[in-house]
């Protein structure tokens, strides 16, 4: 029998530098690291971000989810991490590893559209998720606050 699946949802203040190329490079490196570390461990999910916050859903076996979360907690690029949910789930909502920009800034939306596409980020797939609605509200608020 496979290990039971858990879903963990958190958001954190985005401590990545916000100026142009630096920001893009950081985002690209985070995505690459997420894929490398998480997919091997059987962790899938989605990472939403904007200039204000990261918001992430992690799904997988408990041990692997905990290890991933612990790595995030030791990462300086995340500050003020708030854990929103940790609960067993019957099945994954995210089968791959996706990352998408959410926010109202048209400029950034365009800028990160490609990241979203290349990572398989599908806003429509998020649509029915309650957590997504919460994350979306949070990230948009935080972006406004950070602007």
């Amino acid at each position: 029998m496979p290990a039971p699946l858990y879903q963990l949802v958190y958001y954190s203040r985005n401590a990545v530098s916000r100026d142009g190329a630096g920001f893009e490079a950081e985002v690209a490196s985070i995505l690459a690291a997420s894929r490398r570390n998480n997919e091997a461990a059987g962790v899938t999910g989605t990472l939403l971000f904007n200039a204000g916050v990261f918001a992430q859903v992690l799904e997988g076996p408990l041990d692997a989810v905990e290890a991933t979360f612990e790595r995030i907690q030791q990462d300086d690029r995340h500050g003020d991490v708030s854990l929103l949910a940790l609960e067993p789930i019957a099945q994954r909502s995210f089968s791959g590893w996706a990352m998408g920009f959410v926010g109202r800034s048209a400029e950034n939306t365009a800028r990160f559209a490609e990241v979203g596409l290349s990572s398989g980020f599908d806003p429509a797939a998020l649509g029915g998720q309650k957590v997504h609605a919460i994350l979306r509200d949070l990230t948009v608020e935080e972006e406004a606050a950070a602007a």
Binding site: Q74, G79, V81, S82
Partner: protein, 536 residues
Amino acid sequence: MSVHPLPNSDGRGRAAPGSDAVLDALPHPVVGFDWDGEVIFANASARDCFGERIVGSDFADLFPNGSDPFKQLAAAGRVLGLVSNAQTRFRGLFGAMAAGGFVLSLIAEEADAAAGAEADELTGMMKRGGLALRLDAALADLAGGGARLAVHCIDLDRFKTVNDTLGHGVGDGLLKKVADRMRAACRKEDCVARIGGDEFVVIQAGVGDRTDAERLAARLVDLIGRTYVLSGHTVNIGASVGVALAEPGQGTRDLLRNGDLALYEAKRAGRGRFRVFEDGMDAALRDRRELEIDLRRALALKQFSLHYQPFIDLQTERTIGFEALIRWDHPVRGRVTPADFIPLAEETGLISKIGEWVLRTACATATTWPDEMSVAVNVSPVQFKSDNLIETIVSALAHSGLPAHRLEIEITEGALLEDTSNVLKTLHALRDLGIRISMDDFGTGYSSLSYLQKFPFNKIKIDRSFVQGADEGGDNEAILKAIAGLGLSLGMAITAEGVETPEQLARIRGEQCTHVQGYFTGRPMPADGIATFLQA
């Protein structure tokens, strides 16, 4: 009551060193416990082994592996094999102390030569022995003109709660993650040691100035304080950090002590933060710490006593009861006033034990009084936060045989500030038992009239400042009159406190106060002076 210092009390010897000096000269650890297994003193060797913070910890904190209850071990009367929280094996022998409690003498089982290299099994960190060696070397280097260093003394906040509620398995898992985060916060040349159950020390190498040390301390507080996920549980703890920068010529012990003092200050400021040691912090904190250590011993050494101040019914002009007032006579400090030690007792939680002693002693004493006289006992806001206040009071009444209606509990407004609904529930439960409840020091704090509406106090005690200030007439007199009138219409008795002159007595009588308490009608007296006072 006076308590003699231990040496010389039998008249032998002259100019003998104090008992502390004798104990500190012993090369092996000696630890004193109260009846419940809480450390009330530790000699220098014990502080070296278990840390400067040993006083106040429990036997189970020092020797976490045993399963036998403390009292059973202490009464065993044979040599015990004990393993300390730092995994050192000791042979230990308990003795009972005449003044109460037990003293434990410890001999380490193996020579410490290998201990320096030994790592903590759980976290893989070095232990106290390795830390000391490492610091000795770094300080020698500093004295020779090498790089500066800082120590960060770290205590986990709320770790015990995690252990108690989620079990040792989760507790151990948490410690591993804490250790990982500490390593993540540090650089390669820094070093981290686990010196106790939830106590750690980081040696920060190559410190340029204070800002460097502050940066790491802030990072440690931040990282350790972030949420943990363990076996599906969400766990939140905090870290308090005390930082000390090494000065050339300083020894390991002094440096660690400074870090420890800064840690103490960080905890006192509310935990979950860091403080950097500064000159001057030293003296004040040392004083406080020493006072705390003395305070922890005071109950076991029977240094407290109760004095009783009469209160008079103004209608019958008779003494109808006494307020119990605590006195602390310390063999060296002399008499320490409650204003100087009660706040510290509240801060450290010692007030619960002290308060219980006061309740039991006062109730027992009151049973010897004639004419159904009552005894008033002050209960601190902190005592209301503990779960067992009602049980303690019920038990004090039952043991003494004092009827509930002869006990008055005095509270200040402070008790009603937080968690008001629970406090009110407790007060109602006490009232239902027949115990009377007074509002003490009324007029000084917030003096919110809503408190008087929220609970039917039996009595309001008007603070002495209004009684004494009313001599000049004006505002104080008006306030005195208003509070007395309020009490009258709410059906509460009114006691005027601090009456010292016949004029003040005449005035409060005119203002319809029902009771009086003060030097003019009777000073606080020891229990054995009461019979004489009542006959006079």
